[in-house]
Subunit: 731 residues, 2 copies
């Protein structure tokens, strides 16, 4: 990698890790509050670590098995890249490490945020936000750092053949397999975490609030610690792993597609491969700058707090738009303005999707107010209204991603419909552009559960109302950022999946070259075995047209997989919450001292039950996500796999937006009613809205986010198993 | 049409109409019961006719406008077939006529069924079922009769050019536009009817049962007549129009694809065109036979009643499998065994989809029992369980339709992947096979609302408990047939839409030939302007591969349209029901005599309100369904349109199954609890299940069935507007 621009990336990755370390140390030095606060904080941290230990134990088993399988398939049968076992383990390891650091930070930061809130709002915001930034910066730092190291290694170790163009395609598609490990770990973190958090939440509410009549966050509730742990597990570790995967996946896919697009010109090719890495590096540096801009004054209202956060995020985004143009120009990529257009298109798409999510789920706008209004008619009308709002809310995000994709394609292809490869490279670059500010957007996501947990800590420690008011203000801000964060995660997952699907074809191509296309008939052989063959030639060869029945049926199957996967995760929450309800009832029954407040409940057992429930329940959805592309590739071949991925992406993306926004809107409709509208707390409308919120919990925190993983994981599995699908298929 | 087999069709169509007339006369001759029963029956019939008058008035307006537009586009600008205005009007007219006859029969039959139930269960079943058969036979009779007449006309009038092969493609694609009128009328009947029926149902329940505490079907409830009218509007007229469209659409698409598949051999071509018409004719004759087999003895239990119905349906299906083989052999189609395999594949797919629907929605099986069980935890867990069940229930129908499509394709193509045209012809033949028994399956669908209304009539007329027991038995049977009927309607809509999408490409091809492909660049021109060009050449020409960004984005848009359309129809029910609630409250308030039972409520006003609400609310969904394919064809061209249709079909199909099955399962979970389980009526579980049922009402009776129309209508609009999309598109 002789391009100077490439070195922005390692510098940025290192800077991110250094700043994250500094923020972590600063946070540790803060006051932890009184003994009670420390005790509760310790409970949550130990619970979170107990969960992680259990998850990592299961992961270790699954990773060991899969690594052995990959080693066999690659080294034994020659069906996969021999690098796969190493890149696979590495992807999982670093994603898990980022999650571990994020959780360590978040759980420690909550107590210190609550402690700071006793005296100062700006200081509390600073601690919570910078601790969230640890997660954001670690994710981008480790992700980008890994990509840099793997590229350097692959470039150094892979044999230098005659045709450098093909060699770079080989390098990029090899490194692409790094995504498999990240994807697999994201599955555990996001799906398992999603089930954990809602099982704990629903279980705690059903027995605590409904049956026993004790308030939320009451320390007498045995499931309360599990509930607080769940916030971290879902919104810190789960969200982090999801976006770690999108981040790495989009950069790696862009590199692979760049290598393929300029395969005939090694000079332009290397620049096309370096461009996404350099843009990501620039984004990391500007995100760090943005993080430092987030600050506020004492007595700031909600608007001022939101303004402080927005200042950081918007500045980073605006500077990337400005600075990426000279960067691309200096790098000397082919068609720099076109590539820059793709970067901008991706960034703007992310902003539109985030805004649309906010519109549909915030109590400041009509849709959520409509649900609150309909709650006066009872639970049925509240639920029908929420489902209607969620379904309608899919329009803007899908139109935005569709428009962003087309604009990026047109820009990068120089408005030449024949330049399919260049255009698809542009789509991947748009995903990189959207995720370039991840360092700071993820910081505002991870900030949410810290503020939430700080509130819980203040409640359980019995701190005064002025402290609660400060933590409530921080928490409300977190709800807004969480909504936009979810939209951003979904939108970026969709764009990343698109890029991964496009690069799947490149992997198939290199696989055919690698294996000498022994099994292909004459005539076509020449076309597909030549590096100069265009992407269109490949699509022709595999008949990836929409009227190929294998493609049509596979698109249907993809749509079905998205629904079945969601159905399974929805039901998983129900079952796991049932176990939690039984445990809480058992503790109340066997020790009456718990409800009297004289003896402490067994928090750890509740955490363990939620953990085990989550692990057990994620097994079937995970198997479906992994086995669907393998089964389809064996039955319907390459064309079928692409159909499956496109069908799964389209239905999965729309379904994810629907589920997330319905859930978010119900949540905020309930909060709106609790703020005194439509009769306020304990009114008929409130009871109806609580039911809506409970239905929405698994929608927005389990099934919706899990679909992000499904659409990406299926693509990555297809990429990794490309060698198997090209050598064996029935149709 | 010189093939003898062709003449099966007119004979069968005439026979169907003759038998239907006989059944109608027989029904009229039956006893109408006492004065009170006649009075209530008259209210329902007048309400139904008032609804139909209003709907036809609006339709007249829309049809006049669209006919003028089509006349302008075709005769003025030459962008469409000049036949379109005539075929369009005719398709709408005959679909409406079938609906009118069905409603006249159903509303008269309910009183007579109730009257017969006073003395004899077998006689009541006979009246109800044969009156349902009037609808079934009129739909297939008018549908098939029209197709026969149009084919004869087109064959006679269209100029005989030199190339007879291309001429037959022209004939079949011209007749295909007949589907546009049927589709448009189905939109009004199914979407409008779906909104009407649930607005009345929910409105009647919310004020009557919940607020005023009067039982279901109580004559004091002003909305009770509207509710009874709604059953007819939704399940007779709506279902009939939906299946009229599928029936005609599948036959016409098969003819068009047959003409295209054997374009090089005029002898085989005419046989391929006649085959679907002959199979349909055979199916009509065997359906008539099946209808006569449905009879039972006095004191029959639920199992015996279901057995009586199944005997009729299964005999018809088995005989079609047996008799279609010699028919195809005698006709002399190319590859008769392959075509026969496609027929059988379609029939079996329909049976599997119907059974799967029954499994997921019947209280005899685990899924519905699970929901009833979860209702003990309250409304939230009941709703979550129903949504989980509905999502999981998508697996079997989609796998069945996927497998049926592939098998039909492989059989008809003779296992030659290159024979794309022959294979797609097989897929359309499978749809024809599935719908070949429509005469009797639709009879058992239309039977449901008759039995339901008979029960309502018995209740309102104050007949004895032994009469209610008989009508309840008939009603329960109707619920089972309604569930399988819904599955069948969805499955056949999916297969029909697939066939329509495939024939869209043929229409584009003939359009290019017709217009002399003036706007196409040189080089490609030769390929697409020649009749001998294969379907694959066309797909190539328009770049309908899955990595074309226009296709990818259009698939996403299609998925989004399905969700937005559902969201709009869900919300429509909520708003229309709100108007009904206000009206019922107003009547109770202004005339206290109504609740006291001394004065009669104003039933007609409630019917009028539901009618107007339905008309107003269907406007936006209808506009979206019609404008989406036009907009996409202008923006993204032919490839984009195919992407939109495939995306809409895949998401729409899966979403429809989810919505219908969730709704059906909630409904039956409630009935299971009302039968005395989980605490029975007025228990906590019962209250929760009532909320689940209310949420499910618009799912299963409005949004789910409306999606059938959406996926077919978008394809038909694309077909009709093909001339516009090939001559103008931006990308």
């Amino acid at each position: 990698m002789n391009e100077i621009a490439f070195w922005i990336a390692p510098v940025a990755a290192l800077s991110a890790l250094v700043v994250a370390t500094r923020f972590f140390r600063e946070m540790l030095a803060e006051d932890q509050g009184n003994a009670r606060m420390r005790e509760i904080g310790d409970h949550v941290r130990h619970g979170a670590m107990a969960y992680l230990r259990q998850q990592y134990r299961l992961m270790l088993l699954v990773f060991a098995l899969l690594t052995a399988l990959f080693a066999l398939l690659s080294h034994g049968f020659g069906l996969q890249s021999t690098w796969l076992p190493a890149t696979f383990v590495c992807g999982g390891l670093f994603s898990a490490l980022a999650g571990y650091i994020g959780m360590q930070t978040a759980t420690r930061a909550a107590t210190r945020t609550a402690a700071a809130a006793r005296t100062s709002l700006p200081q509390a915001l600073r601690i919570a936000f910078r601790s969230g930034a640890v997660m954001g910066l670690v994710v981008v730092g480790l992700g980008l750092g890994n990509i840099v190291v793997w590229f350097a290694l692959a470039d150094w170790l892979l044999p230098a053949g005659e045709d450098t163009g093909v060699r770079m395609v080989l390098v990029t598609t090899t490194v692409l397999t790094f995504g498999m490990g990240a994807s697999m770990q994201a599955l555990f973190a996001r799906v398992g975490g999603g089930i954990f958090t809602k099982a704990a939440d629903v279980g705690a509410d059903l027995v605590g609030k409904v049956e026993s009549g004790i308030p939320e966050d009451d320390p007498r509730n045995p499931a309360v610690i599990a509930d607080n742990v769940g916030d971290n597990v879902g919104d810190v570790a789960g969200m982090g792993a999801d976006l770690f995967e999108s981040y790495c996946g989009s950069i790696l896919a862009a590199c692979a597609l760049g290598a393929a697009a300029y395969v005939g010109d090694p000079t332009l090719q290397i620049k096309a491969v370096v461009a996404p890495i350099a843009i990501a590096g620039l984004g990391v540096l500007l995100s760090i700058l943005g993080v430092f801009l987030v600050r506020t004054r004492e007595g700031a209202d909600q608007r001022a707090l939101l303004g402080a956060l927005s200042r950081g995020v918007n500045t980073a985004a605006a500077l990337i738009i400005v600075a990426s143009a000279p960067l691309l120009w200096a790098l000397g990529v082919a068609n720099p303005w076109g590539i820059w257009g793709a970067v901008v298109s991706g960034l703007l798409t992310g902003i539109v999707v985030g805004r649309a999510t906010e519109y549909y789920t915030s109590p400041s706008y009509a849709p959520t107010l409509h649900i609150a209004n309909q709650a006066e008619g009872g639970p049925a009308t509240a639920i029908i209204a929420g489902i209607g709002v969620g379904m309608l809310s899919t329009a803007v995000p899908i139109l935005a991603v569709g428009a962003g994709t087309l604009v990026a394609f047109l820009c990068a292809s120089g408005f030449d419909p024949g330049a399919l490869n260049q255009g698809l490279y542009g789509v991947a670059i748009a995903a990189v552009g959207m995720l370039s500010t991840l360092g700071i957007t993820l910081a505002s996501d991870a900030y949410g559960p810290i503020a939430d947990n700080a509130g819980g800590n203040a409640e359980m420690s019995g701190l005064g109302p002025e402290v609660r008011a400060r933590t409530d203000a921080l928490d409300a801000l977190g709800n807004t950022t969480a909504a936009t964060g979810k939209g951003f995660a979904i939108g970026s997952a969709a764009l990343t999946a698109l890029a991964l699907i496009a690069s799947y074809v490149e992997v198939v191509r290199i696989e055919l070259i690698r294996t000498g296309v022994a099994s292909l008939e004459l005539g076509h052989e020449v076309v597909v075995a030549t590096a100069g063959a265009t992407l269109a030639d490949f699509m022709d060869y595999f008949d990836v047209t929409l009227l190929n029945p294998a493609v049509l049926v596979a698109v249907l199957l993809g749509a079905m997989v998205a629904f079945v996967f969601s159905g399974l995760t929805v039901q998983a929450v129900g079952r796991a919450a049932g176990l939690m309800v039984e445990e809480v009832r058992r503790q109340f029954r066997t020790d009456p001292g718990i409800l009297a407040g004289t003896s402490e409940p067994d928090y750890e057992r509740c955490v363990a039950i939620s953990t085990l429930g989550a692990q057990r329940e994620m097994l079937v959805p995970a198997l479906i996500a992994v086995s669907a592309p393998v089964a389809v590739s064996l039955l319907l071949g390459v064309a079928g796999v692409i159909g499956l991925l496109v069908g799964g992406l389209s239905s999965g993306f729309v379904l994810a937006v629907f589920l997330s926004n319905s859930g978010g809107a119900w949540d905020n409709a309930k909060k709106h009613i609790e703020a005194g509208h439509h009769g306020g707390k304990n009114s008929r409308a409130h009871r109806a809205s609580v039911i809506g919120d409970t239905v929405g919990d698994p929608f927005k925190d389990t099934s919706g986010p899990s679909l992000n993983i499904l659409v990406k994981l299926m693509s990555v599995v297809a990429i990794v198993m490309a060698g198997v699908s090209t050598s064996h298929s029935l149709l």
